[in-house]
């Protein structure tokens, strides 16, 4: 399809071209699990499917693995259609949420399994198993059974088993979901390190946005069976294209508004809270219904009085202050009843302290707000 030439030019055969999903759809009777997913994975990329449970991300992954068949659409790996291939001919590594280690085989037996399926000679199998266990930091556990390992160790074994046959693509389905927070953060770094060392393309499924931000080159945000937006963490955070993305990745304040005028990349809007200006992220036209999204940390307070600007300026009463250490979160109530959340770094305002019940004025810069199309899917 595209980008076999751009990006990193590794001449390795298995890395020659990306995974492509074309109009993938999966229905169970009346229920639409995956509506229409289009996607192109880049060479050596770490791409995360992020979304709430039931948004279709795991089903999409299962279709790439071949564990489920799409109702319609096609999947291509290295330019070849994957659909006619059963899972055992796809040569794609997969790590499952609950490890799915074979309980009756030792750690070495588990890791050797895919190599035995490929009929590699014994000496080669042993060498590769040792390498893989070394890579995940479990060289001394080879003779143990999975039940004798901790959750974190089991996940490392599952990882070793999925990479030992050097698949060009690695799928990971919420692999850290069953681990506690500390272990999860440690494993995130290890998986990132492995990705750098192996240069394999990775599709990673999670519902944890922090995990997605830490690990991914790009993130595909899933919602109700569709990819809402795909891009780098920075793009998704700074330029969310839909209200769902603006609300799911980080926090946003939303203001309903109508576009009055478009000026270059910026648009002027009318809202109940007065005139607003924002980046015209959704390419709106005059008269369109819109939602303006503003991040809490992009909202600043200014001392009562006038800042000389008529737009993006709101007055409200402080109804809640949540101390967060490095910063504080303020909840303001506007005259029309809507609430705004604003985040302020500690010790920014020189001496002036905002207290509960204060009447305050807030503002934000027009480039820090995104005007999004008011489209709501059900």
């Amino acid at each position: 399809m595209k980008n076999t030439t751009d990006g990193c030019k590794k001449p390795t055969l298995s890395h020659s071209s990306p995974l492509v999903l074309k109009d993938i759809r999966k229905t169970y009777g009346e229920i639409v699990a995956v509506d229409r997913v289009n996607l192109e994975l880049r060479e050596g990329e770490f791409l995360t499917f992020l979304g709430p449970s039931g948004s279709g991300k795991t089903t999409t992954l299962a279709m790439v693995a071949g564990l489920q068949n799409p109702s319609s659409g096609s999947i291509y790996l290295n330019g070849e259609p994957l659909d006619p291939l059963p899972p055992y001919r796809r040569n794609i590594g997969m790590v499952f949420q609950h490890y799915a280690l074979f309980p009756h085989m030792t750690v070495a037996g588990n890791v050797a399994f895919p190599l035995e399926m490929r009929k590699l000679p014994r000496s080669e199998v042993r060498k590769r198993v040792d390498e893989a266990l070394e890579l995940v930091g479990l060289p001394e556990m080879a003779k143990r059974f999975p039940a004798e390992l901790s959750g974190g160790q089991q996940q490392r074994v599952a990882l070793a088993r999925a990479i030992v046959f050097k698949p060009p693509l690695l799928l990971m389905d919420e692999p850290l979901g069953a681990l506690d927070r500390k272990l999860r953060e440690q494993m995130q770094l290890e998986i990132t390190r492995l990705h750098r060392e192996l240069k394999t393309s990775i599709l990673y499924v999670t519902h944890d946005q922090e995990e997605a931000l830490v690990m991914s080159d790009r993130i595909a945000v899933f919602n109700k069976g569709l990819i809402e937006q795909i891009g780098s963490a920075h793009e998704l955070y700074e330029k969310p294209m839909t209200k769902f993305v603006a609300g799911f990745l980080g926090d946003s304040n939303f203001f309903g508004a109508t576009v009055r005028e478009v000026r270059g990349d910026c648009c002027l809007l009318d809202s109940q809270n007065g005139p607003l200006r924002a980046s015209n992220t959704s390419r709106l036209k005059a008269g369109d219904k819109a939602v303006v999204a503003v991040r809490p940390e992009r909202i600043s307070f200014f001392a009562n009085g006038h800042n000389g600007v008529a737009h993006n300026t709101l007055k409200g009463r402080v109804t809640d202050i949540i101390y967060l250490g490095q910063s504080s979160k303020y909840v303001l109530k506007m005259p029309d009843g809507t609430e705004i959340r604003a985040l302020q770094q500690a010790q920014t305002e020189g001496g002036h302290k905002i207290a509960l019940g204060d009447e305050v004025s807030v503002m934000w810069h027009e480039t820090q707000a995104n005007a999004l199309a008011e489209k709501q899917r059900d």
């Binding site: 693995a65 071949g66 564990l67 899972p87 309980p103 009756h104 399994f113 039940a147 799928l171």
Partner: protein, 272 residues
């Protein structure tokens, strides 16, 4: 205060429990012990306690072609029965656990029906059917009948084993390059093997022990040991029957021990 009180009742409870369990065990196994003792009796009829000890009834058992012939017939029935029932029961359990269709529970009920329907009804049904099919009084007929009676046990134990193992293991095996057959052989089969072996043991013991259906469909020419025992009791009772019973008992005890070993073997990997 509380401790001493509960300690006091604890001792009473412990002795009471031991006594009750002891009585129950004696009640259950006393007939077995008596049979074993009788089989070594020197008297020519079944009296207890025996006046002296001898091995004559074991000699009679292995010296009399009627007895060892029927013992051989029983073995000729139980070996193919156990193999057939294990294969059919395992295949049925695997098929049922890996597919979803209308009327699945009805099919499962039908497979289990031979142990729910009173045996005498099955026996009468087979009696009628086998006569018209030409299976009456044949080894093949007895094997077929015993297979029907033992498949439910294999089906139940293997279904139980399958319900415990994680189905995602087969998915994992597939992504690692295992064809469905290899995945079954290398992953599923080893995990359900204890269940299959339990079912096999059930099949062996039940076939060996089966009387009612065998009585209906066997003839003096092809007569399993249980039917032979039954007709012996009704004629001239001699302690040979006690010797036969002791051998049956020994056989079942071995099966129990084997079952115990299978369970021990399975536990090591599954839970910890």
């Amino acid at each position: 205060m509380h401790m001493s009180l509960s300690g006091g009742t604890g001792i009473w409870w412990r002795w009471g429990r031991l006594l009750m369990c002891g009585l129950a065990v004696v009640y259950v196994i006393a007939p077995l012990i008596i049979v074993v003792i009788l089989s070594f009796s020197s008297a020519p009829f079944l009296t207890f306690p025996p006046p002296g000890l001898s091995l004559q009834w074991y000699e009679s058992l292995f010296g009399n072609p009627v007895w060892y012939g029927s013992l051989l017939t029983s073995i000729k029935i139980l070996v193919p029965t156990a193999i057939l029932a294990t294969a059919i029961g395992t295949a049925a359990a695997f098929g049922m656990s890996r597919s979803e269709f209308r009327g699945k529970s009805i099919i499962a009920g039908l497979i289990m029906s031979p142990i729910i329907v009173p045996v005498i009804i099955t026996a009468v049904g087979m009696f009628g059917a086998f006569r018209s099919l030409g299976l009456f009084g044949t080894l093949a007929g007895l094997i077929a009948a015993h297979t029907v009676l033992t498949v439910p046990f294999v089906f139940a134990t293997v279904s139980g084993a399958l319900s415990v193992i994680d189905q995602r293991l087969e998915g994992a095996a597939a992504t690692l390059g295992a064809t469905p057959w290899v995945s079954f052989r290398r992953v599923t089969l080893p995990l359900i093997l204890p269940g299959i072996l339990s079912g096999l043991l059930f099949a062996v013991v039940i076939s060996f022990d089966e009387l009612v259906v065998s009585m209906f469909i066997s003839t003096p020419a092809v007569r399993p040991i249980t039917v032979q025992m039954w007709s012996n009791v009704r004629g001239a009772v001699d302690p040979t029957i006690a010797a036969v019973a002791s051998i049956l008992l020994l056989f079942c005890l071995s099966a129990l021990v084997a079952q115990f070993m299978i369970d021990r073997g399975g536990d090591r990997r599954v839970d910890r």
